[in-house]
């Protein structure tokens, strides 16, 4: 973990996600899942958060130059923010369509590139926001109600 803060807003965890070593993709989501388990959060909710976080982590690793995942756990909700350092998405509406994918062959060999990740994150979360500036960054914000 790269930082762990507890304050009035709850617990804030922040993890760096790289884009160079595909074999460790999922480690961050795994760590987040373990923290949620220790906090005795409902298993169904943990599962939804885990699926969405993992899809997002994979996207950062295979489509971006790297970034970070920030988790905020409060009494009533879990918020996940994923931000990367680009290259950004030209058309986020198109990216959200089921089946749309620009995944590389290397990513496809790992079992990704169905164009299902972003729609699945939206399905799993209670609130989903995607924001991107082409050439700069992509930022996802997801909220899960406890």
């Amino acid at each position: 973990m790269n930082s762990f803060i507890t304050n009035n807003d709850g617990i804030v965890l922040k993890y760096v996600v790289g884009n160079d070593d595909f074999s460790i993709v999922g480690e961050v989501s795994s760590k987040i899942k373990n923290v949620l388990k220790q906090l005795n959060i409902d298993n169904k909710l943990i599962r939804r958060v885990s699926i969405a976080t993992y899809e997002a982590e994979v996207n950062v690793a295979i489509h971006s130059l790297g970034g970070y995942i920030e988790v905020t756990i409060t009494e009533n909700e879990i918020k996940i923010k994923i931000r990367d350092n680009g290259p950004g998405i030209k058309d986020t509406k198109l990216a959200m369509e089921k089946g749309y994918s620009t995944a590389s062959n290397k990513a496809r060999e790992l079992g990704f590139g169905a164009g299902m990740g972003l729609p699945n994150m939206k399905r799993c979360s209670d609130e989903f926001k995607i924001e991107s500036k082409f050439g700069e960054y992509t930022e996802l914000n997801m909220k899960f109600i406890k």
Binding site: Y54, L110, R123
Partner: protein
């Protein structure tokens, strides 16, 4: 269905886990993002992929049983990752089609995809 019965039906082998575990549902795919999108029960996963991402995908979904088909054998690193998570791993020389077919014929259920 007990894992021991599964092994018998697919002429398989157990790498790690328990033959006394059991499965009721199965999902077959080499696309992990489809697994993440469609699997919503305590389901066994049949796949021809043998990398870490298969284990990570199963971990996120709380899946406990993975059957590697077409004679694919996961590397030790992948087996270790699954072991730490208490999973059961099986291998078989059957194709995805035959493994799925024989399990389905013997009562393992399929998932229904909802199209919303």
């Amino acid at each position: 269905m007990k894992i021991s019965k599964v092994i018998e039906l697919i002429n398989g082998e157990i790498l790690i886990g328990s033959i006394d575990d059991s499965i009721n549902f199965a999902f077959s795919s080499d696309l992990m993002s489809d697994v993440l999108a469609f699997v919503n029960e305590d389901t066994a996963l049949l796949t021809g992929l043998v990398n870490n991402q298969v284990i990570r995908t199963a971990e996120m979904l709380d899946l406990r049983t993975i059957i590697f088909v077409r004679g694919k054998v996961p590397p030790q690193e992948v087996v270790n990752l699954a072991k730490e998570r208490g999973m059961t791993l099986l291998i078989t020389n059957f194709t995805m089609f035959e493994s799925s077919g024989v399990l389905f014929k013997n009562g393992i259920e399929a998932l229904r995809i909802s199209n919303e």
